[in-house]
Amino acid sequence: MNNISLLGIFISSIFVNNIILMKFLGLCSFFGVSNKLSSALGMSAAVFFVMNLAAVVSWFLYYFVLLPLNLEFLKIIVFILIISSLVQLVELFMKKFLPGLFKALGIYLPLITTNCAILAVAFLVVDYQYSLLQTIVFSSGTAIGYTLAIILFSSIRERIELAPLPNAAKGYGIVFVTSALMSLSFMGLIGLFGF
């Protein structure tokens, strides 16, 4: 286990190593749902929920099942299957017991299985050899970073829709350039708390 302070992990996972703008993870959903603020909020709530769950479950699985049995090489297969079945399970559970929450998050849950940010957090936690507490802090920090980026971006994007642009730059072209500027501003935070 390594001993980076929890605050350091938290701050760096939100700002310095922002999962979307600095690490290029979860871009499909970032560009896909960021055209409306409401869908951005729904998606980020679902990501927050599933990311924490997936990171903790895969941490337990790795250290208590795969490592003792010398099956580390199966981690890609095991993690992806666990995460996709977890999402299904959460969906069924929510439908039955929390219909209000299901209505709000329901349509975003199936999309999360193919969201690479979730799987990446599960791999990174193992790669960095985080303890359980560090894992929880890291995954919630990452999810908050995701939320921050996607909400900021959806607000900007609502303005872009109205901007006069050449035809070729409409859609993805200008969206990429805008995220370059946002990423540049997040880069200014490098060095914060020694990261």
């Binding site: 560009f31 299957l81 799987l119 791999f123 730059a169 072209g173 370059a180």
Partner: protein, 225 residues
């Protein structure tokens, strides 16, 4: 013969997975800091795509329809594991610079989309050609971006000696990735608009499809229906 040619043209140009269909963006941006990384990622993804296409096409008749997606994922994950350990063993520096993106080939939307849209419906040979051509499209896009970013960002091509001094370091950092990709995509779209007459895209998918990596597959399905 005509169909083979059509598949190749479609994968590399007409439906280029990254530049036109906009799927598989994460490795496209993250693994293009140098041309060498881009070639490594392009080859790894092409290998997984081709192998999973072949295997899925081989077992397409015995896969129960309802659980096909988990089966596809297991097949893809198996080949990803093979690639992951091979790169770790033979190209340790490449493995270090690509990092977590090699295991993440498993959620690369291109591979699952081709398995669902093509390999589960066509015979082995066509699936093989489709894997090569779609992988080739991805390879081409990522290598172009890799060359641009390396040339502008560190003044080299494929790790050669510096061609000019004072490169713009920002191009190899994350903002440069977004910027270069934005410019490449805009140019592609410009050329596409010039060449191809506008065909009306059927877009009667529910709004919840926005952001799903399989959206293009569903659209293709609707179009063919």
């Amino acid at each position: 013969m005509r169909k083979i040619f059509e598949i190749i043209l479609r994968g590399i140009l007409k439906e280029n997975p990254v530049l036109i269909m906009m799927i598989g963006l994460c490795p496209f941006l993250a693994c293009s800091t140098t041309a060498n990384d881009a070639v490594g990622m392009g080859l790894a993804a092409t290998f997984v795509l081709t192998c999973s296409n072949i295997l899925i096409s081989l077992i397409r008749r015995i896969i129960p329809h309802n659980i096909r997606i988990p089966i596809f994922i297991v097949v893809i994950a198996t080949f990803t594991t093979i690639v992951d350990y091979t790169i770790k063993a033979y190209f340790p520096t490449l493995s270090e610079s690509l990092g977590v993106f090699i295991p993440l080939i498993v959620v690369n939307c291109i591979i699952l989309a081709r398995a669902e849209a093509f390999a589960s419906k066509n015979n082995i040979f066509y699936s093989f050609v489709d894997g090569i051509s779609m992988g080739g499209g991805f390879f081409l896009a990522i290598v172009i971006l890799g060359i641009i970013r390396e040339l502008l960002g560190s003044g080299t091509i494929f790790g050669s000696k510096e061609l000019f001094s004072y490169p713009a370091v920002i191009m190899v950092l994350p903002p440069g990735g977004f910027l270069a990709a934005g410019v490449v995509i805009t140019i592609t779209k410009y050329i596409e608009n010039k060449l191809i007459k506008k065909t009306k895209i059927i877009s009667n998918l529910p709004s919840s499809c926005e952001g799903c990596s399989l959206k293009s597959t569903c659209m293709e399905f609707l179009k063919n229906k």
